[in-house]
C-alpha cells in the first residue's frame, strides 16, 4: 500500500474544501447539541423527576444506528447537509446533556446559597455562578462530543454528504488506497486540532482552575 504523493499534490484544493465541510458539519452538530442540552439540563437539574426521563431519552437516541437515523430523516430533510447535522446532533446529546447536568450538580450548595444571600436573583445566579462553575465538566463533554462528531461525519457519505468520508468510498471504488489514507489522517488531524483548541478555550475561560504560579 503506497501513497501516491502526486495525487495529493493535484487535489489539495479538493482536500481542503472536504476537510472544511467535514469540520463544519461536526461543529454545527456540537453547537446545536449545546443549544438543546443547556436548557434541558437546567430543567433536569432543578426537577429531579425529569432528570431520568431526559437522560434516558438521550441514551435511547444514542442506540439508534447512525444509518437508520439518516434514513428516517430522509422524508423530512432529504439528501442535505441539514440531515447530516440533525443526525450528528442527536448523538452529541447523550454526552452534552449528561455532562451539563453533572456540571450543574457539581456546583457547591454553599456557593449557591452565598449568591442568594447576597441578593442575586435565580437567573443571574444561573448565568454568573452556576454555569461558570459547571464549565469544566461541560467542556469535558464538549470535547468528547466534538471528537465523536468529527469521526461520525463520514457516515453521512451514504446520503451524499460526509466530508472527508467521500475519500473512503472513492478509494474503495477505484481500489486506490491514497484517498483512504489521506482521509483517515486528515480526520485524525481535525480531531486533534479541534480538541487542542477546546483545551485552549477552556484555559482562557476558567482562570480560577489554573494552578497557582
Amino acid at each position: 500500500m503506497t501513497v501516491d504523493w502526486s495525487w495529493i499534490g493535484d487535489h489539495t484544493h479538493d482536500l481542503t474544501s472536504l476537510a472544511l465541510s467535514h469540520l463544519q458539519a461536526a461543529l454545527l452538530a456540537v453547537f446545536f447539541g449545546l443549544l438543546i442540552s443547556l436548557p434541558l439540563a437546567v430543567v433536569a437539574h432543578r426537577v429531579r423527576a425529569l432528570r431520568g426521563v431526559f437522560l434516558g431519552l438521550s441514551n435511547v437516541l444514542f442506540t439508534i444506528p447512525s444509518i437508520a437515523i439518516f434514513v428516517l430523516l430522509l422524508p423530512v430533510s432529504g439528501l442535505t447537509r441539514t440531515t447530516t447535522v440533525i443526525g450528528l446532533t442527536v448523538y452529541t446529546l447523550v454526552v452534552l446533556l449528561r455532562n451539563t447536568v453533572e456540571g450543574l450538580d457539581s456546583v457547591p450548595v454553599k456557593t449557591k446559597e452565598a449568591a442568594k444571600a447576597m441578593g442575586t436573583r435565580p437567573l443571574r445566579t444561573l448565568l454568573t455562578v452556576e454555569l461558570p462553575l459547571a464549565l469544566p465538566v461541560i467542556m469535558a463533554g464538549v470535547r468528547i462530543a466534538t471528537v465523536m462528531s468529527i469521526s461520525l461525519v463520514s457516515v453521512a457519505t451514504y446520503i451524499g454528504d460526509g466530508g472527508l468520508g467521500q475519500l473512503f468510498t472513492d478509494g474503495f471504488q477505484r481500489n486506490f488506497p491514497t484517498p483512504v489514507i489521506v482521509g483517515v489522517v486528515l480526520t485524525l488531524l481535525l480531531a486533534l486540532v479541534a480538541d487542542a483548541l477546546l483545551v485552549a478555550v477552556q484555559y482562557v475561560l476558567t482562570p480560577w482552575t489554573r494552578r497557582r504560579a
Binding site: P108, A114, K116, A117, M118, G119, W208
Partner: protein
C-alpha cells in the same frame, strides 16, 4: 416565653412572636420575641438544632417564618422584595462561602455590582475594604483558594460590608479556623465594630466567643426556645436556670472576671522592707521582685487599668507575695493591689450586674 427587651437606644431588628415550623414537622423557632438595638452586637448561642441559625436566616428572608412578624428598621421583612432586602443586609456565611471563580476583589464587589454601581466604582470600594479588613492590596487579584482560611474569612467580612449595610448577619463565621486565628479575627471584628457601629447578629455555639463579642447574648435551647437574653455580665452573674448555667460552663465565675476591668480596684504604695521588694528601673518601670533574704529574683508582669480582673487574679497567684504591680499606659508604676482587694472586688460583681440589659422571664 422569654422576651428580650434591651430598653436602650433605637431598635433595629424586632422579632414579634415568630414561629417557624418546617414542612417535615420540626419546630425550629418557637414563639420568639426578641429585640436587637441599633449599633449593638447580639449573639445567638446554643447547641446545634436549637434554631439560632434559622432565626438569623429569617432576618434576610433566606427562611420565611410560619407566623409572627420580623421588622428590620421598622419595616416588615415579608413586605419587601427578598433579593433587594438581602442586598441591604450584609451576610457573612459559614466558612466564608466565597465564589471560587471570582477574584477576591470581585467577590467583595458582589453586592455593589448587583446594586448597579458600575465595575470601576465597585472595584475601588472593594480595594478600600481589603485594607479595612487587614489584607494586602495584592490579595485582590487572587482567587479564594489561594488564600488561607483566616484570610478567606476576612474577605467574607469585607464582602458583607461592601455596600455599607446597617445590619450585618454572621453565621458562625469563625468556626472553621484554628483558635489562634479565631482570636485574631474576633479582635479585628471588635476593632471594626468600634469604627462602624453596625447592628450585628452573630450566631455561634462557642460561649466564650459569645461573651467576648456580644453586647447582648440570646441563649437558645433545642426546639427553638429562647431561654435567656441578657448582657454577658448579667448572664454570667445570674443565669436564668440550670440549662443556662450548664451552657455557660464550669468556669462561669472566671468568665465573669474576664469581663471586669482592674480600673475600679484600689491600689496602694509598693511595700518597703518586706520579704519581697519590687525593683524598678530609672523610668520607674517594674523590673522584677527581689527576695530580701537571698536576693533571688522573680519576674513581674505589671497590669494596666484596662486589664481584666481575671488577669489580675492570675498575676496575684503567680506573684510571690500576692501583690499585683499596677502601671499606667507608659508602663510606669502607679501602685500595687493585693489579692484580697481583687477578691473583694470580684465578689461584688453580683451587686453590679443590674446595669444594661435586663431579662424578664414570664
Amino acid at each position: 416565653m422569654t422576651i428580650c427587651r434591651p430598653g436602650k437606644g433605637h431598635l433595629m431588628i424586632q422579632f414579634d412572636t415568630v414561629h417557624k415550623r418546617f414542612p417535615n414537622g420540626t419546630t425550629a423557632v418557637h414563639d420568639l420575641s426578641l429585640e436587637m438595638p441599633e449599633g449593638g452586637v447580639t449573639v445567638l448561642v446554643g447547641s446545634s438544632g436549637c434554631g439560632k441559625t434559622t432565626t438569623l436566616r429569617m432576618i434576610n428572608r433566606m427562611v420565611d417564618p410560619t407566623s409572627g412578624t420580623i421588622r428590620v428598621g421598622g419595616k416588615d421583612v415579608l413586605e419587601q422584595d427578598a433579593a433587594e432586602l438581602r442586598r441591604s443586609i450584609g451576610y457573612v456565611i459559614q466558612q466564608a462561602g466565597l465564589f471560587p471563580h471570582r477574584t477576591v476583589l470581585d467577590n467583595i464587589a458582589t453586592v455593589p455590582l448587583l446594586l448597579g454601581w458600575g465595575r470601576k466604582k465597585a472595584r475601588a470600594r472593594a480595594a478600600e475594604l481589603l485594607e479595612t479588613v487587614g489584607l494586602a492590596a495584592d490579595a485582590g487579584k487572587r482567587y479564594p483558594h489561594q488564600l488561607s482560611g483566616g484570610q478567606q474569612q476576612r474577605v467574607g467580612v469585607a464582602r458583607a460590608l461592601a455596600a455599607d449595610p446597617p445590619v450585618l448577619l454572621m453565621d458562625e463565621p469563625f468556626g472553621a479556623v484554628d483558635p489562634v486565628v479565631r482570636t485574631q479575627l474576633q479582635d479585628e471584628l471588635l476593632r471594626l465594630q468600634k469604627e462602624l457601629s453596625k447592628t450585628i447578629v452573630f450566631v455561634t455555639h462557642d460561649i466564650d466567643e459569645a461573651v467576648r463579642l456580644g453586647d447582648q447574648i440570646a441563649i437558645f435551647r433545642t426546639g427553638g426556645h429562647l431561654v435567656q437574653c441578657a448582657t454577658p455580665a448579667d448572664l454570667l452573674a445570674r443565669p436564668a436556670d440550670d440549662f443556662v448555667a450548664d451552657f455557660l460552663g464550669a468556669e462561669r465565675g472566671l468568665k465573669l472576671l474576664s469581663l471586669q476591668h482592674l480600673a475600679d480596684v484600689p491600689q496602694g504604695p509598693a511595700p518597703e522592707g518586706g520579704a519581697w521588694t519590687l525593683v524598678l528601673d530609672e523610668a520607674r518601670k517594674p523590673r522584677h521582685w527581689r527576695a530580701t533574704a537571698d536576693d533571688a529574683e522573680l519576674p513581674v508582669r505589671p497590669l494596666k487599668d484596662t486589664d481584666s480582673l481575671l488577669a489580675a487574679l492570675n498575676e496575684s497567684i503567680a506573684s510571690p507575695n500576692g501583690l499585683v504591680a499596677r502601671v499606667d499606659a507608659e508602663g510606669v508604676l502607679t501602685g500595687v493591689t493585693s489579692r484580697d482587694d481583687i477578691h473583694e472586688h470580684a465578689s461584688k460583681t453580683h451587686g453590679h450586674g443590674t446595669h444594661g440589659t435586663a431579662s424578664v422571664a414570664i
